[in-house]
């Protein structure tokens, strides 16, 4: 099972039906089978499972103020609170959810709920980014074949044959696209690590914590440095056609392999990022108030004021900033968090520029977060 949506509270039959239909539609467009998503209606608890992406939607009504959501808050499950009409925001939620951004179903709000839920599971096409790392002299046919297949799964696929125009600063663009990706799919042919470029791509993906999936070519002995990849598939000679492409069955297996591997890597990365932030918040004495849509973490400072901590898992940009600002109806202090290790110069300069010109929203790094948050509080 790749995904799980917990439905909590008091959903109406029509709202639940609409949400299920909307998510199913998205899965269909991504060529992900419905069977990969589990719906759990008001479960008592959740058994953590490494590699499964989980989110919760809490439907509020007049009867839901005392619903116990603590098991899910304690497990850092992102929870999306939703009401029928926006006027009911203040009095229908359990106290654990009181600080999370809430959606309303009026004014065609169901479309927003579907999109927000899908985004919380990483199911929006713009979130699905894969970088194919390969030696042109050895595996171009398969690389092109995978490019086409993954594109039909609504992945944004980076392949240097297509995606870099001549005369552009190659390395910088390549690194930037790698930082934006959540999967590096390496086609491990016999000369993969003989090339400076592919070796560099592999090393950078490791530094940046991008999920690495390995496809081993026939008779290629796996090197020690690939032992830490998230998942591995070994091809045999019989998997290839006479024109050096993959046979259909194997191609479909690779497509499933990508979906599963990406999921696993993303779930782990997300969990560790939320833990890093939550640990820092609690170490400096702030109160952790749960994880909401878009992994936004709500926290209360020692002086009682609220802050919204928004982690960005890939290369941050202005769209992330805009989205964080637009949903901030209560005008809390929003803080953007990012992993600066392995970030490109281009991305770093962009963040500096954003911080300077939109200075009411600071950017902090995940590394040494305790001190940065304490310094932020001291400025208030």
């Amino acid at each position: 099972m790749l995904y799980e949506i917990l439905v909590l509270g008091d959903p109406s039959e029509s709202a639940l039906k609409a949400l299920k239909a909307g998510i199913s539609d998205i899965l269909h467009h991504l060529s992900v089978a419905d069977a990969n998503l589990e719906w759990s209606i008001n479960p008592d608890s959740l058994t953590p499972s490494i590699g499964k992406l989980v989110c919760a939607v809490f439907f509020a009504s007049n009867n839901t103020q005392s619903v116990d959501v603590s098991p899910f808050v304690d497990l850092n499950v992102p929870i999306i609170p939703v009401v029928d009409i926006v006027e009911n925001v203040s009095n229908q939620f359990p106290k654990e959810l009181s600080e999370l951004n809430c959606l309303s179903l009026d004014n065609d709000g169901m479309d927003m709920l579907i999109a927000t839920t899908a985004a919380s599971l990483g199911l929006m096409p713009e979130q699905r980014r894969v970088f194919i790392s390969y030696r042109r002299i050895e595996s171009t046919e398969v690389a092109l074949q995978l490019y086409e297949r993954f594109s039909r799964m609504r992945f944004n696929v980076f392949l240097d044959t297509y995606d870099i125009l001549p005369a552009k600063p190659f390395q910088e663009i390549l690194l930037h696209r790698l930082c934006e990706s959540d999967v590096l799919l390496m086609l491990d042919t016999s000369e993969y690590f003989s090339s400076e470029w592919t070796t560099y791509e592999f090393g950078q993906a490791n530094a940046k914590k991008v999920t690495i999936l390995r496809i081993g070519w026939p008779d290629v002995e796996r090197s020690e440095q690939t032992m830490g990849v998230v998942d591995n598939i070994d091809l045999q000679a019989a998997d290839f056609t006479h024109s050096e492409k993959l046979i259909d069955d194997r191609l479909e297996q690779v497509a499933t392999f990508l979906e599963r591997g990406r999921n696993k890597g993303m779930a782990i990365r997300r969990s560790m990022t939320i833990n890093t932030i939550k640990n820092a918040v609690e170490r400096i004495g702030w109160q952790f108030d749960g994880v909401g849509a878009n992994l936004q973490i709500e926290a209360k400072l020692n002086n009682g004021s609220m802050v919204a901590l928004r982690p960005i898992l890939s290369a941050p940009n202005a769209m992330d900033l805009q989205q964080a600002d637009e949903v901030n109806r209560e005008r809390k202090q929003v803080v953007m968090l990012y992993d600066n290790v392995g970030l490109t110069t281009v991305a770093g300069n962009h963040i500096d520029w954003l911080g300077k010109h939109i200075n009411h929203i600071p950017w902090l790094t995940l590394h040494d977060l305790d001190k940065q948050l304490s310094d932020l509080e001291a400025l208030q």
Partner: protein, 187 residues
């Protein structure tokens, strides 16, 4: 600066079956998380490993830390030909003379490494018998040091964690390595 010993490796081959199944990518993630949690606060000491050294080097560069001040690796001359060329450009490698056998060479390296005076903690991740051997030697030389063995990445460290019933005993599936490191090593 206080020092922490890191013993981590990915189990492989038939011997791996003697230990709980390992998740290699979790071993890698845990090592990275350890580096990010402690670099700048503690110096990392370890037996040079082909996949760890480049990662530590890269992280030090990203955090503007001078590598030689923040980690030190031990390498037995017995394995000179197996280590990446990158090691040759590091000036924070302690080369230990080889003995007549692989086993004796490893022993000599470990004795020199684990008898350092500033070691205040040891972290054990994944691995096979070597992890157990290094733990036993580490504990003998550093009886007052904190010890943490991770469970979720599997391998011999999982067995070790259960056997020792460590103070920072973890849920089997926990990925909250950051919290464990802070608790175990007083960061």
């Amino acid at each position: 600066m206080k020092e922490l010993f890191l013993s981590a490796s990915v189990p492989y081959g038939q011997r791996a079956a003697n230990f709980p199944p390992a998740e290699p990518y979790l071993i890698q993630y845990a090592v990275r998380e350890f580096a990010l949690s402690v670099l700048g606060k503690r110096k990392i000491i370890y037996g040079g490993h082909p996949s760890i050294t480049p990662m530590l080097w890269a992280i030090c560069q990203e955090l503007n830390l001078e590598p030689k001040d923040h980690f030190e690796l031990y390498q037995s001359r017995f394995f000179d030909e197996q280590f990446p060329d990158e090691n040759k450009r590091f000036d924070n490698v302690v080369f230990v003379d080889k003995k007549s056998t692989k086993q004796d060479s490893l022993m000599a390296m470990r004795e020199q490494m684990l008898s350092r005076k500033n070691l205040t903690g040891g972290l054990f991740i994944g691995g096979m018998e070597g992890i157990i051997d290094e733990h036993d030697m580490f504990a003998r030389y550093n009886p007052k040091a904190s010890i943490l063995a991770l469970r979720s990445p599997g391998g011999a460290a999982d067995t070790l964690a259960q056997k020792l019933n460590l103070q920072h005993q973890q849920e089997e599936a926990t990925l909250n390595f950051n919290k464990l490191f802070y608790q175990a090593f007083g960061l």
